[in-house]
């Protein structure tokens, strides 16, 4: 009997489909998106560090560029990603050890609130420097 196996339609992207799904699914999708972003950043960061190999002038030039408000704005986005991924990661680790499983949604809300507050404080600090 031939069957329709429409898993193959959107196999690898199913995790992104949060339509009509609950908070836990949003947390999962958000964690992946930030995760992918951070991997990309990690390698960019490593490439940038190669400037250290080119000596003082190259690195110090980069430092000036990095202090421009545009780059600082990108830093805020980066920080947002790190906060969400990091704190949500702690939530996943906790639940994985059987801690707070019943409160996973509340934990996610807490993660987002803490992230938002920290980001706000950090943003002010970043732009004051």
């Amino acid at each position: 009997m031939s069957t329709l196996d429409y898993r193959k339609v959107s196999r690898a992207s199913r995790w992104l489909d949060v339509r009509r799904r609950k908070l836990g699914m949003w947390a999962y999708a958000l964690n992946r998106i930030t995760g992918i972003g951070l991997v990309v950043y990690l390698y960019l960061h490593l490439v940038v560090l190669s400037l250290l190999l080119r000596g003082q002038a190259a690195w110090d030039f980069f430092v000036t560029v990095a202090r421009s408000p545009y780059v600082l704005a990108l830093d805020v986005i980066l920080l947002a990603g790190i906060l969400i991924h990091g704190l949500n990661g702690l939530r996943i680790a906790m639940t994985g050890f059987g801690i707070g499983v019943g409160a996973q949604k509340a934990l996610f809300v807490a993660v987002m609130v803490v992230s938002a507050v920290t980001l706000w404080v950090a943003t002010i600090k970043i732009f004051r420097i």
Binding site: D5, R7, A12, M25, A27, T95, F97, V101, Q104
Partner: protein, 256 residues
């Protein structure tokens, strides 16, 4: 009894043909459940509509489908609770199963997973009512401890899990990984492990869950627990298994 006219948009697939959606207008009492609407389509409009049903009261688990994209048991879902009153009510088969025909999916994979856990359908019941404390709270009733009758050593119960496949359909990891044991399968392993006193069997059950496609594959989206119509809490069971497996690994490392 007020009658309402409800448009149903039903996923149709027959082997060898392209899938499509058919729209039917059914007239049903406003107190109907979604399964009654599907029954009406079958009885009046189209006998070739393939769907499952049996108990009509959330006990057999056969009728599970997606209603407007969300996994539900149509037998206990009132039409008025899911239908906005204008747009057609969209009925589709469960995801993450091969579709055999229309709303009927091949649940072989699910049943194999349940068999692997060797979970029996009958369990020992706690000697108190109720089955779910929450519903009792809603009704304002007290759960009471029950004295077992003289000739009883225990009460028996059917398991909470009705093997409907809703958690499998809701699970984002299940969508990607065909080999994943899945929420139902892992919850079954947990349940069988809880029932068993035999250390060899417990070891085997934990071993089943301890693989790349076992408990570690879960991405903690908690969709299974959200969707489960029987409060089985598969995600909670997966987390409990993780905890036990980690504890076991550490105690082995400590040389026990």
């Amino acid at each position: 009894m007020n009658m309402v006219k409800v448009p149903l948009q039903i996923f149709r697939y027959k082997p060898g043909q392209a899938p499509r959606y058919d729209t039917f207008m059914v007239e049903i009492p406003d107190t109907s459940h979604v399964i009654d609407a599907i029954d009406t389509v079958w009885a009046i409009h189209d006998r070739s509509l393939a769907f499952r049903r049996a108990c009509h009261h959330s006990s057999c688990g056969s009728c599970a489908i997606r209603i407007n994209g969300v996994e539900k048991l149509p037998c206990v879902t009132r039409v008025t609770d899911v239908w906005g009153g204008h747009d057609p009510l969209r009925l589709e088969p469960l995801r993450n199963f091969p579709v055999v025909s229309d709303l009927v999916v091949d649940v072989t994979g699910l049943f194999q997973r349940m068999s692997a856990a060797d979970m029996s359908m009958i369990c020992e019941a706690e000697a108190f009512l109720p089955f779910t404390v929450d519903t009792f709270a809603v009704a304002g009733l007290d759960p009471k401890l029950v004295e077992l009758p003289e000739n009883f050593s225990r009460f028996s119960r059917f398991e909470k899990c009705i093997e409907c496949g809703i958690c499998v359909s809701a699970c984002p990891t299940m969508a990607a990984d065909e080999k994943f044991l899945g929420p139902a399968g892992l919850a079954a392993i947990h349940q069988a492990r809880k029932k068993s006193n035999d250390p060899v069997k417990v070891e085997h059950l934990l071993g089943l869950a301890d693989g790349e496609h076992g408990v570690w594959r879960c991405h903690s989206a908690f969709e299974c627990t959200e969707a489960c119509p029987q409060a089985v809490d598969p995600a909670g069971k997966i987390m409990a298994l993780r905890r036990e497996l980690i504890a076991r690994r550490f105690s082995k490392m400590m040389g026990k």
